[in-house]
């Protein structure tokens, strides 16, 4: 089966099951939300998905363009523009109705409530917090600064260790370098591993490493490094894949081997974007490092969570101020650096 048919069926099936779920609201809560009926719901959802997919193919045969067909069907007549306005098409209404139902479900699921937002007790609590933060306790400033320096170095070491690893891996994860069957297997394997590593958030890596090496900046640094390797490799390899093929052929025609070709034909083309992405990654890592501290990754985040736990808002205010200044400075510096490297 062609991939676009599978994609179309899945999307249309999903839309259909969303539309079906609009009718559940009439059913009593007990039928739906008990654990006993969890299996039933899954089966119901899958049935709706399949039914929707079948419906999609019936509609497609009947020359009605569903949303899935509109998005995934290859365009056989690229020169022909859509004649009808979207509100007169089937796919337009399918999209609007699905979006509306999803929005309504979302409002319920997130327990959206104006009452809670404007509740007087809650507002007073928030006011206390903001007032505390607005009058920072500068006593903790030296400690905050020494902690943010730790955070900055966490980010720096994580980036520095990740860069050479990502540099080497990026060529192995670039399609235009990895030609041939064995090379393609390595390419696929590496891509899968990297996607896996990247899909695990740095926060989760920090939890893993804080168990492994103990709570503190080392765990935070390792977490950032793992995430940076995966992200940088992906970004680097995309640059490698977009290089001009001309110099590569020029070097190959001289009888150069693979490593020489990469070094002489690809590296000069990618080095500036690589540096630019690395600087940006350091910037991102400083921001991430403050968050990672919240789960035991050391640095300013650990200090923040300590004072927040004791509701010492004046101290929290100082810490937030220090973080804001450093993040803003890093952001500006990295922007200026990247602009200069263009």
């Amino acid at each position: 089966m062609k991939p676009y048919i599978i994609r179309r069926s899945l999307l249309d099936g999903f839309c259909f099951s969303v539309i079906c779920s609009a009718f559940y609201f009439y059913l009593p809560e007990a039928v739906l939300n008990t654990e006993m009926n969890f299996k039933l719901q899954i089966i119901l959802f899958l049935c709706e998905l399949i039914l929707g997919a079948l419906l999609s193919s019936v509609l497609y045969r009947g020359r009605i363009t569903t949303l899935g067909a509109k998005i995934f069907q290859p365009d056989f007549n690229p020169g022909v523009a859509e004649a009808k306005n979207f509100y007169r098409t089937f796919w337009g209404w399918q999209f609007l109705v699905t979006l509306l139902i999803l929005f309504i479900i979302g409002i319920f699921k997130t327990r959206f409530s104006f009452f809670e937002l404007l509740n007087i007790d809650g507002l007073q609590g928030a006011q206390r917090l903001f007032l505390g933060m607005a009058s920072p306790n500068w006593q903790v400033l030296p400690q905050a600064i020494s902690n943010i320096i730790e955070t900055i170095f966490m980010a720096f070491i994580a980036t520095t260790l990740a860069t050479p690893v990502a540099f080497v891996l990026s060529f192995l994860a670039a399609k235009n370098v990895m030609k041939g069957r064995m090379a393609f297997i390595i390419y696929l394997f590496l891509r899968t591993i990297l996607n896996l590593v990247r899909s695990i958030e740095a926060l989760v890596w920090a939890i893993i490493f804080s168990v492994w090496v103990g709570i503190g900046p080392f765990a935070g640094m390792l977490a950032l490094m793992m995430h940076s390797i995966a992200s940088l490799t992906k970004q680097y390899s995309e640059i490698v894949e977009s290089v001009n093929e001309g110099p590569i052929e020029g070097i190959q025609s001289c009888g150069a081997n693979k490593i020489q070709t990469i070094w002489y034909a690809i590296v000069p083309q990618v080095i500036l974007p690589f540096i630019s992405f690395t600087v940006y990654r350091w910037d991102i890592n400083v921001r991430m490092a403050t968050i990672i501290g919240l789960v035991g990754g050391g640095g300013i985040g650990t200090m923040l969570i300590k004072y927040q736990g004791q509701a010492m808002w004046a101290e929290v205010g100082t810490i937030i101020f220090v973080i804001a200044v450093v993040v803003w400075l890093m952001d500006q510096a990295s922007a200026v650096l990247r602009e200069a490297l263009k």
């Binding site: 020029g250 001289c254 081997n257």
Partner: protein, 263 residues
């Protein structure tokens, strides 16, 4: 026949998308020739050249090359190992329509890249080319008349100058054969003649066999010692450049085509 350097037999190339680039091409090249291949875009000229140094793999047929005068001719389409293919490429220089220099490196470094095949990986990564190699590079830059540009960045040169750097780079390989894929197609007429004159010089003074793709017939008549014309992946003409009259021209380029006069 000891002076046949290259012998192509029934060469066929079908691309994965079904396009047939070459439909059985056979010809011989003599040592020291300046052979020009003409034809429309898409007639298979580039494919033919790229099959010779294995930038493209032929589907079928033989390409027999005698790397040095004494050696037996070997069929290079049978080469499997990267080492064998690299050795082949070392003895065949190539220049391209888009020059294919490395833009950020200096001119002399680009020329030194012609020695990559004989430099170890570690030394080449560290940029440690021998003094002899450097002197040789400067000599070849002298030969193509741009020794004074040796330490400029390659992308600061004009198109014609870049193509001359590419010639110098190819010469560094000490090639037996020089392949030129549309070397003057992106240059203006005056610069084209400069570049072609250097190719002629290389052919005469260094005795390197040249196989060159061109589409401008006025240039062909001036430089070629022999011409092969391709049309839809097949040879439709083989002979002296002076033998291409109006009739042949129409056969090669299609009915109604007009020969334009340049320079």
């Amino acid at each position: 026949m000891p002076n046949v350097i290259l012998e192509i037999k029934n060469l066929k190339k079908t691309y994965p998308n079904g396009v047939r680039g070459l439909r059985g091409v056979s010809f011989q090249v003599l040592r020291g020739e300046f052979l020009v291949i003409i034809g429309l875009s898409g007639s298979g000229k580039s494919t033919l050249l790229r099959c010779i140094n294995r930038l493209t793999d032929a589907t079928n047929g033989q390409i027999k090359i005698s790397i040095d005068q004494t050696a037996e001719k070997v069929d290079v389409t049978k080469f499997k190992s990267p080492t064998a293919i690299r050795a082949l490429r070392k003895s065949i220089g190539m220049i391209f329509q888009q020059f294919n220099l490395v833009p950020r490196h200096t001119v002399i470094k680009n020329v030194l890249m012609g020695k990559l095949a004989t430099t170890t990986t570690l030394k080449s990564i560290l940029g440690l080319f021998s003094v002899a190699d450097r002197t040789e590079a400067l000599n070849y830059l002298e030969l193509v008349g741009i020794a004074d540009k040796a330490y400029l960045r390659a992308d600061h040169l004009s198109g014609g100058q870049q193509q001359r750097v590419a010639i110098a780079r190819a010469l560094m390989q000490k090639p037996q054969i020089l392949l030129a894929d549309e070397p003057v197609a992106s240059l203006d007429p005056a610069t084209s003649h400069t570049v072609m004159n250097y190719l002629k010089k290389v052919n005469h003074e260094l005795g390197i066999t040249i196989i060159c793709n061109l589409h401008d017939l006025s240039i062909v008549r001036q430089y070629a010692t022999r011409v092969i014309a391709l049309k839809d992946g097949e040879i439709v003409f083989e002979g002296s450049p002076l033998a291409i009259n109006e009739d042949w021209f129409q056969k090669i380029y299609g009915i109604g085509a007009l020969e334009k006069e340049i320079g």
